[in-house]
Subunit: 340 residues, 2 copies
DNA sequence: CCGTTCAGTCGAATCCATTCGACAGTGTTC
DNA sequence: GAACACTGTCGAATGGATTCGACTGAACGG
């Protein structure tokens, strides 16, 4: 492989001069600089990452922790990943994708070996055991997902409480007075998906203060169970005219369920979901939904992280908790309830 | 950070002795070895990756190239990624996820900077311009997807020709004599998705030799266009009793289309697809399908790649082209045609 | 009892890029 | 014309792990 020594030799200068010509950290005459640049182009020189990391203790690599959990809906994950890798690349960083079962060990391994300059964690749980090691490590960390204790870390998430209220408000404004909220399976919640609770609790509070009946259920996240669940909920509440979905699998299954019951949205039932736009577009019935803004969250997380790395902000300096405001994207599945 | 010097000092030995105690490359007395191990555990020593890479010219990192193309179906991608990262980790490697627009540049950058020991390329096109630089680089490469010229690289892919024949054969065996094959959009093919042609051509050949009518169409890959496309195809061929889908979007849209036409599978129309099992499970009607075996392909690619890295097989030594045999997973959407 | 062998250990060199201190040469200023 | 300030370069040190060659001391054979 070609080293800076080869470049220096080809340009007829010392290694240090070649280095300064490339970094611009000391003034080098235009002619010499040009000769160095020519040599670089001709020989195809790219600095050895290991040597540079060793010397500068910066790798220009970010660790991206993504846990691929069986029953959470996968397509959403890819959007987060894409948001992170693209943004990182724009800022001159590569991304190490970590799907280790042992998240705690992986944090320590990568931090101690100085393989990465910082950490992005997706899918952060309420009581995530990766956070403690992350706080003790010199590299900064950014989270997508709000944990119980966000101290010492930058956090980015959708505002799930506002989302819950917004769903109820939208339906209320259209005239609905009895609704069903379908959440993700309880084991998702147990694994730390507190956002499910945050949305549901906020929705219930709002419903109560508006004098609305809101029936809350957990449901499976995949076929065929989820279809049966939906039938059960609809059977149990014949007076409900609106369906709020915080469960991708339910959105996927709903078209078949509506078909089987001879119902249409929004004529017979108004529907609003909470999941990503890309997800919404691929389904056979495009339901209105609050976008989970996956790529935006990934973007923000990386920007903040890189800011901390390069600004070398003290790890102790004040941290962000940014909850982005929900927006309902109307795809025509919400309307006034049928005249009773 | 703690270095091997710290470990050596704590154990009361020289740096080289500590290194040999850990690597086992020279015999070291049991007592000394134990002291070194204790010091490592106590201090939490992990070798500095940059220093090790510099010295050994091995990084234990693989580059994974995944292009997130708008109209290819994303969920499938995640399965490939998972297969690769998990397998890499099992073998002691980390994975650098590259979604660079400039694939050629990224190959050269990562190879020259010695950031990675090898390359895995997903979504390889018929005439993929990343292959040429990849061949010229010292690190080995493994492809998922069969290009026109696979020389110098290890290739893993589903056997799409066998898949095309199998779809036709299955339907033929059930008694179907007129079928519609729906492929991915033509621009996917143009971008190099030759697998679309390989499947379609093989299916057409087989149909011809069995004396079956097979209508072949390209269709859009997302809503709402794909729904209209399907209606058009079914309108054009009222006698067709079987639908072969090599297009995930079509599978996603089909339930609504069937509903609209008052049809059911398999009573009125038999359906078989070609996509991943995970994908199939999330859709509102579970159609029978040939699994794309994403995780298996990723696994094989990584095993082969690591074998080449560690066995330091000559880059010129014989390369593999492994096409894995298709299997139809029956989910009940195929049956004999309705009695005419 | 001397010479040989070998297990066990250490010192020093190496991988490559970066950067500090030093220095030669030119130009500036009183 | 002497003192000073830059500019542009270079040499050498640095970062941390690995590994080759060399050395020590104990065991063993004759």
């Amino acid at each position: 492989m070609v080293t800076i020594g080869d470049v220096a030799k080809a340009a007829g200068v010392s290694r240090s001069t070649a280095s300064y010509a490339l970094s611009g950290k000391r003034s080098i005459s235009p002619e010499v600089t040009q000769r160095v640049l020519d040599a670089v182009a001709e020989l195809g020189y790219t600095p050895n990452a290991g040597a540079r990391a060793l010397r500068t203790s910066q790798t220009r690599v970010l660790a991206l922790f993504a846990q691929f959990v069986e029953d959470e809906f996968a397509p959403a994950m890819l959007e987060y990943i894409k948001g992170v890798t693209d943004t990182a690349r724009e800022l001159g960083y590569d991304t190490l994708l970590v799907s280790d079962d042992d998240g705690v060990g992986a944090v320590q391994r990568l931090a101690r070996s100085r393989m990465v300059d910082g950490f992005v964690l997706l899918n952060v749980a309420e009581d995530d055991d990766r956070l403690e090691p992350l706080r003790q490590v010199p590299q900064p960390g950014a989270l997508v997902g709000l944990p119980g204790d966000p101290s010492g870390l930058d956090v980015f998430d959708l505002d799930f409480e506002a989302s819950g209220r917004m769903m109820v408000d939208e339906m209320h404004a259209l005239g609905h007075r009895e609704m069903i909220l379908v959440s993700q399976p309880e084991d998702v919640v147990e694994r730390g998906g507190a956002y499910v609770w945050r949305l549901a609790d906020a929705a219930k509070d709002r419903a109560a203060s508006l004098g609305i009946e809101l029936h809350h259920y957990f449901a499976a996240s995949s076929q065929p169970q989820i279809g049966e669940d939906l039938h059960r909920f609809l059977d149990a509440h014949p007076g409900a005219t609106a369906l709020l979905l915080n469960n991708e699998g339910a959105a996927a299954a709903l078209p078949a369920v509506l078909h089987a019951r001879g119902l249409s949205a929004p004529e017979d039932l108004s529907v609003v979901g909470r999941y990503s736009d890309v997800f919404a577009r691929t389904f056979s019935l495009p339901f209105s939904a609050i976008d989970s803004a996956a790529d935006r969250l990934g973007r923000h997380a990386v920007h903040q992280l890189v800011g901390r790395i390069e600004g070398s902000l003290d790890k102790a300096s004040p941290h962000t908790v940014e909850l982005i405001a929900p927006e309902v994207h109307d795809r025509g599945s919400m309307a006034a309830p049928p005249a009773a």
